[in-house]
């Protein structure tokens, strides 16, 4: 019973499950450990899983009804002030065919489903009886010998492996324990996400959001949504519910002495949102910390002798205005980490030297490319001009532009000038323009 595993994965979130699936496919003997009652139990969030890595993990997943909720073919970005909402709206049948480029998932359901898929793959592998998914187990320590990871400890039980993948998510205590992340992460790099699940009659939901079959909508909100705090709002359509929520800067919340839940309640009173959620019933509320995706708080490196870090534990996340991306990064990094382990097993070399291939692969992937390229966008999003002045300006413009008063109509440029004067200086705009131009 005490035999050694090829790999122990800590955390059955998207990253850990992706890694486990990859290991199972490659006939590795591994242990996947999750502290929640089941995979997904601790994952209150949900959202859009962007890109099509899921199809790599579970080919033709779209043929199954389970696991995912809707595919996205309709995207909106809304700027709001107190009373108005100016929306950029894009819908295309181009997105209607699988593999989809974005699917909405509810994590508790999705993770559980993916875990079942991993189990099926384990059952078909050479190590059907020797690989495990163990839930309700908290990993308390990564066992290190001579600065090399050799296993894990839970309670007074110890388990050994050639390699350990840490996929523990945002609250990365183990990553800190092995010394790859500073103990103190300043609050300005932390966001808090809160979300309500609002239930509708399915027919009503589909009518209201113009959904057909399993198509879905994602909508981001900037401005009034976050009530002056840095951050923004989001809305996704699930199968029978919508997720409506906010992502807010922890430091800014603290400084402005505002509570996320109050801001969400205020957001819901906005006339446009009120119409959107009318007759819906809140069936769930949850809150969770997310990292801001600032590269400055990434672990120093993502490998060590016998050890790899992936997913949000490695702070792989991006919140650059048009979407929060984290699950796709988690998935890809999990796959890459596992592939590196498979290669290392072949070479029988789990040293730092061998495992650093993971970081290389990650750097070559879209994950790090995106994160590197969009750093400025991340900073831009946290600029107060972006969260307050800009939305006000845009709404003001919209209001005047769309108002017909039976008076001589002003030219759009004049209206825009007036709006700019009222809500921002040209200087602000130029700054944002330059930043934005560079960032995106």
């Amino acid at each position: 019973m005490d035999e050694k595993f090829d790999c122990i994965i800590v955390g059955a979130g998207v990253a850990g499950l992706a890694a486990a699936m990859t290991l199972a496919r490659n006939n590795m003997k591994f242990l996947l450990i999750e502290r929640g009652e089941f995979a997904g139990a601790k994952n209150v969030s949900g959202g859009v899983l962007w890109g099509n890595d899921l199809a790599k993990l579970v080919p033709e997943y779209w043929k199954e009804d389970a696991g995912w909720d809707r595919f996205i073919n309709h995207r909106r970005l809304s700027f709001m002030d107190e009373e108005s909402c100016f929306t950029v709206d894009f819908k295309s049948s181009h997105f209607n065919e699988p593999p989809y480029s974005g699917v909405v998932v509810l994590r508790s359901k999705f993770d559980r489903w993916l875990a079942d898929k991993v189990q099926e793959t384990i059952d078909e592998s050479d190590f059907a009886m020797e690989s495990f998914i163990a839930t309700n187990i908290l990993v308390e320590e990564i066992l290190m010998e001579d600065d090399k990871a050799v296993g894990i400890r839970t309670g007074d039980e110890k388990f050994y492996a050639d390699s350990v993948i840490i996929a523990e998510g945002v609250n990365n205590l183990l990553t800190r324990q092995v010394g790859l992340q500073d103990d103190y992460v300043p609050a300005d790099h932390m966001l808090t996400g809160i979300k309500e699940i609002i239930q509708f009659d399915q027919k009503k939901l589909e009518d209201r959001f113009q959904l057909s079959g399993k198509s879905g909508l994602s909508n981001e909100f900037v401005g009034f949504a976050s009530d002056g705090v840095e951050g923004g709002g989001f809305l996704y359509t699930n199968r029978e519910t919508i997720s409506l929520g906010l992502v807010l800067g922890v430091k800014d919340l603290r400084e402005k002495e505002k509570k996320p839940h109050d801001i969400l309640n205020k957001f819901k009173t906005h006339p446009v949102i009120k119409d959107i959620i009318k007759d819906g019933e809140v069936v769930e509320y949850s809150a969770h910390v997310v990292s801001s995706g600032d590269k400055q708080v990434m672990p120093k490196k993502l490998y060590k002798d016998g050890l790899l870090i992936c997913g949000e534990a490695a702070n792989l996340l991006m919140n650059a205005g048009k979407a929060i991306q984290g699950m796709d990064y988690a998935m890809r990094s999990g796959i890459l980490a596992a592939e590196t382990i498979v290669d290392s097993k072949e070479k029988n070399d789990f040293s730092e030297h061998s495992l650093q291939e993971y970081e290389k692969a990650l750097n070559d992937s879209y994950v790090m490319k995106d994160i590197n390229n969009f750093q400025d966008a991340v900073h831009l999003l946290h600029d107060p001009v972006m969260t307050q002045k800009m939305p006000n300006l845009i709404c003001d413009f919209g209001r005047n532009f769309f108002t017909i008063k039976n008076q001589p109509t002003k030219k759009a440029r004049t209206i825009l000038n007036e709006s700019v004067k009222k809500h921002a200086s040209y200087w602000d705009l130029i700054k944002v323009g330059i930043k934005g131009g560079k960032a995106l």
Partner: protein
Amino acid sequence: MKITVCIKQVPDVNAPIQIKDGQLIQDSNRKILNAYDASAVEAALVLQEDHGIDQVEVVLIGPEKAKETIRKALAMGADKGIHIITEEENSFDSFAYAQLLAGFFKDREYDYIFCGKQSQDTDSGLTGSMLAEFLGLPYTTNAVGLEMADGDLTAKRQGDSGQEIIELPSPGVVTCSNDMNDPRIPSLKGIMQSKRKPVDTISVTDLGVDLSEESTKTIINSYEEKPERKAGEKFEGEPEEIARKVAQLLDTEANVI
């Protein structure tokens, strides 16, 4: 000596529940080992540890997916599982489950059968004593403590006003309250070992129990929300102040003093 524990997979009552058109929409992912059965398994394991009982086995009637609940009991330490497989859409009442269990136990060997005192979701509390009656066995319900001497059990059962200490010869049936113990949480080793423990599967038809019309004697027609109890007023501030206010309101507004 052998103890067989009847375990059931139930929806987690802590999970959000929705009702649509009178039907219960349950998250099929949030199914757990009935807490009362977990206590029954725990009790059997403690007896095994203390009195060298040869075997603790668990039996569950439920769909394919309920197997994970058997694994949970095996991970806690039970030696063997028996899965009586039903169709996903089957819905039985306690009477039918008890008949099926009686069919199962008819030709088997056991010294004691443990059940949970009730199902956490339906709170019926019928199956155990029904099973005892079908098998013609003595039984005791709502046990909050168990002791064994010379192979016979003494149960402490929670009665209406006190605890009744009851001697129960074998073979017999005990239904267990969760007040009896705190079920162990499976260790990682336990989870790993559980995978190698035997689980026999039996189909309902193999039991040869005639589940005709009469065997399900009660039906559930619909579900509804409980009439909501609104939160009243919440008083914060100086203890003397809120104490005075609430005392007065209880007298003048609520009229309950």
